[in-house]
């Protein structure tokens, strides 16, 4: 609680006590008036001062001024009529309670978000000639060796040069499993070192590091305002003057007709109490703020309230295959030997590929972990567009495609599995084949199902891969629509076609490699696992911090929940205000009800907004 909040809380309590005491004391006449004036001034002096300043600055619709007119009016009516000053003081009291609660709730949620995003490193340990020195991470130059002790945050992105450890990256990715790192691994700032001492050579400046970028992004997200926020701001701008003018009309017209001035002036004062737009205005930005905060805790960075709104309206999701649904890493999918066993076939293949730098060679070597044994590999010859030929322990081994087999006269046959087929021949005789395929991510299927459940009615997969591969992947995942063999430029074209056909919003999900143009062309660009790829973070509207495709549906559901809360708040707040205006005008509601309703609506709307922060989706 800030000093100001404490002071106001004391004012609220003191006034309440005085009011309770006064309710049991019988005082009449002038003494009664002065007795009630004391609590009124205690609780309302700052409003009165502000009202005076409002007049000075010619601000007719100043909130404080309206509250002052309403309460002073009620006082005047009380003097004239029954001496019931309670109402005027109560209105001021409840108004202040409302303001206090608002300021407390907003402060609390601000703190909540900043705790959530507690990834800002305060210092870096730099090795110098005199030992370890703690410095401001801002002053660390690229290429400096920094030391990170267990329990400390990694301050700047870099590469491990010494030590091994497990890192807690949950603040960055929402992933609770620790990540093991060793020499040569890249580490991101904001992760917490759990058990080993690490020496890290920094590769970025502090400002360019992941932690700083995320914080910057989250802090600025609520500056990009959504349509709902703009609506409510505009509404507030019309609402207050409209209610004030109706109050004026209500005070004069029926009074002239009926001659009953005090009744109608009282009803007009009720209007002034309800004219304050704060309950409306506060809950909307607070909802978005809490929604953005809740999402970032889940590892979903949304770059603005407006994108959160778009995300909730997404009906079509277009996905890139490689890196989004599949790992983008080639693995040995199947081994089909002929006249040999599986191990032997992999053994030969791995040896032949010993010196090749092709990605397929790497996965073949990885499939046979004992590749660096003492077998003799000689006369390696790489024939472009065909394959590799080598002599392994005296046997001539050919590893390559169909053409290669045809040329040496080996009797190969095609495989029923989809993927890249690598044929192997020993001394000119066919020995079988190995299938290499891109592997699906573990949650890919689940992610597609979840997206359908979250209300995405059209799922499209784009890929540069062959039609066969695309067909198989889409069948396994249950995606009905796919376009294959696309170049990056074709993807943009295809997306434009889809954009033209769709009535809902279209999101594109990619891993950020080569697809920045598509990301920015879509209604909503979602980059996944993009930490570290600056171009993708720049082009995307939503950044998923790890590369789990399940986060896509989670993001959509979070956004929908947030928008539901925003709508509830808008309808509820406006609805109650109008109901009170009508009840006030026909004389059913008194000022008590009006202020109760006003403050009550605000409290409920704020509590409703905060549900976003602790959203379980």
């Amino acid at each position: 609680m800030s000093a100001k909040q404490k002071k106001n809380l004391i004012r609220i309590i003191v006034t309440s006590i005085i009011m309770i005491v006064l309710a049991f004391v019988e005082i009449e006449g002038k003494a009664r008036f002065f007795c009630y004036l004391i609590p009124y001034l205690i609780i309302g002096y700052d409003i009165l001062i502000k009202a005076f300043k409002g007049i000075k600055n010619l601000r007719a619709f100043d909130e404080s001024l309206l509250m002052t007119i309403a309460t002073l009016g009620a006082m005047a009516l009380a003097i004239y009529e029954d001496g019931d000053y309670t109402e005027a003081v109560a209105v001021m009291l409840f108004y202040q309670i409302g303001e206090w609660f608002q300021s407390y709730a907003v402060g609390k949620s601000r703190k909540n978000i900043s705790d959530l995003m507690d990834i800002r490193p305060d210092y870096a340990n730099v090795e110098t000639d005199e030992g370890i020195e703690k410095v401001d991470p801002d002053e660390v130059e690229v290429g400096t060796i920094i030391l990170v002790q267990p329990g400390e945050k990694i301050p700047i992105d870099g590469v491990v040069t010494e030590g091994t450890s497990a890192l807690n990256t949950s603040a960055l990715t929402g992933e609770s499993l620790p990540r093991d790192v060793k020499i040569g691994d890249e580490v991101l700032s904001g992760s917490i070192n759990i058990n080993g001492v690490l020496k890290i050579r920094t590769t970025k400046e502090f400002d360019e590091s992941t932690a700083s970028k995320i914080l910057d992004l989250v802090e600025n997200a609520s500056s990009l305002k959504s349509k709902s926020e703009n609506f409510i701001t505009k509404f507030a701008r019309i609402y207050t003057p409209a209610v004030v003018f109706s109050a004026l009309a209500l005070a004069i017209i029926p009074s002239l007709a009926t001659g009953d001035w005090s009744t109608w002036i009282y009803r007009a004062l009720i209007f002034l109490v309800i004219s304050c737009p704060c309950a409306l205005v506060i809950s909307i930005p607070l909802s978005f703020f809490a929604g953005l905060g809740g999402a970032s805790r889940e590892g979903i960075l949304i770059k603005g309230s407006n994108y959160l709104e778009t995300l909730s309206k997404v009906k079509t999701v277009v996905m890139d295959k490689t890196g989004t649904l599949t790992k983008g890493v080639f693995d040995v999918d199947a081994v089909h030997p002929e006249n040999a066993d599986e191990d032997q076939l992999l053994h030969w293949t791995a040896h032949v590929e010993r010196y090749s730098t092709h990605p397929i060679a790497a996965s073949l070597r990885a499939a046979y972990p004992h590749e660096s044994d003492d077998c003799k590999v000689e006369n390696v010859e790489e024939i472009s567009g065909r394959g590799i030929k080598a002599i392994v322990n005296g046997d001539t081994v050919h590893v390559g495609n169909e053409k290669f087999m045809d040329e040496i006269g080996a009797a190969w046959h095609p495989c029923h599995r989809v993927g890249t087929t690598i044929h192997v021949a020993i001394n000119g005789k066919y020995a079988g084949h190995v299938i290499i395929a891109d592997v699906l991510k573990p949650h890919a299927k689940e992610a597609i199902d979840e997206m359908k459940k979250a209300g995405i009615n059209r799922l499209v997969m784009l890929t540069g891969d062959s039609k066969e591969v695309a067909k198989k992947v889409s069948e396994v995942l249950g995606i009905t629509e796919f376009y294959s063999e696309l170049l990056p430029a074709d993807k943009v074209e295809k997306l434009e076609e889809i954009l033209n056909e769709s009535d809902g919003k279209v999101a594109f999900v990619g891993d950020g490699i080569n697809d920045a143009p598509v990301l920015s062309r879509a209604d909503l660009g979602i980059a996944m696992g993009a930490l570290g790829s600056d171009a993708a973070v720049e082009a995307a509207d939503v950044v998923l911090m790890d590369d789990d495709p399940l986060k896509i549906s989670k993001a959509v559901r979070l956004a929908k929940k947030c928008m539901r809360i925003v709508k509830q708040n808008i309808y509820f707040a406006i609805g109650v205000k109008f109901a009170c205006l009508i009840l006030g005008a026909i004389g059913v509601a008194n000022m008590w009800l009006a202020i109760f309703a006003d403050v009550g609506v605000m409290v409920l709307a704020i509590l409703n907004s905060l549900r976003n922060l602790f959203a379980k989706v």
């Binding site: 001062i49 600055n57 300021s103 949620s109 601000r110 802090e219 609520s222 704060c278 506060i282």
Partner: protein, 72 residues
């Protein structure tokens, strides 16, 4: 040129009014007040002196909401 300033204000509607007041100040091309983050982002017109313009922005904001502060 754009600059971000830390602000202090108590109510959301007042923040909106500050935004309006800032936008209307001469030398300011556009302004956004982020109530939740308590920040004001100001885009200045070409050739305007931020220091001098912000003095007037602060003055105008004080007119609409006495209880606000812009930390320059």
């Amino acid at each position: 040129m754009k600059k971000t300033y830390k602000i202090d204000v108590d109510c959301a509607n007042c923040a909106n009014e500050m935004e309006e007041a800032a936008k209307k100040t001469s030398g300011v091309k556009d302004a956004v007040v982020n109530f939740m983050a308590l920040k004001m982002k100001v885009e200045f017109e070409e050739g305007a002196d931020p220091g001098e313009v912000m003095g007037r922005v602060r003055e105008n904001c004080k007119k609409v909401e006495d209880d606000c502060e812009i930390f320059l």
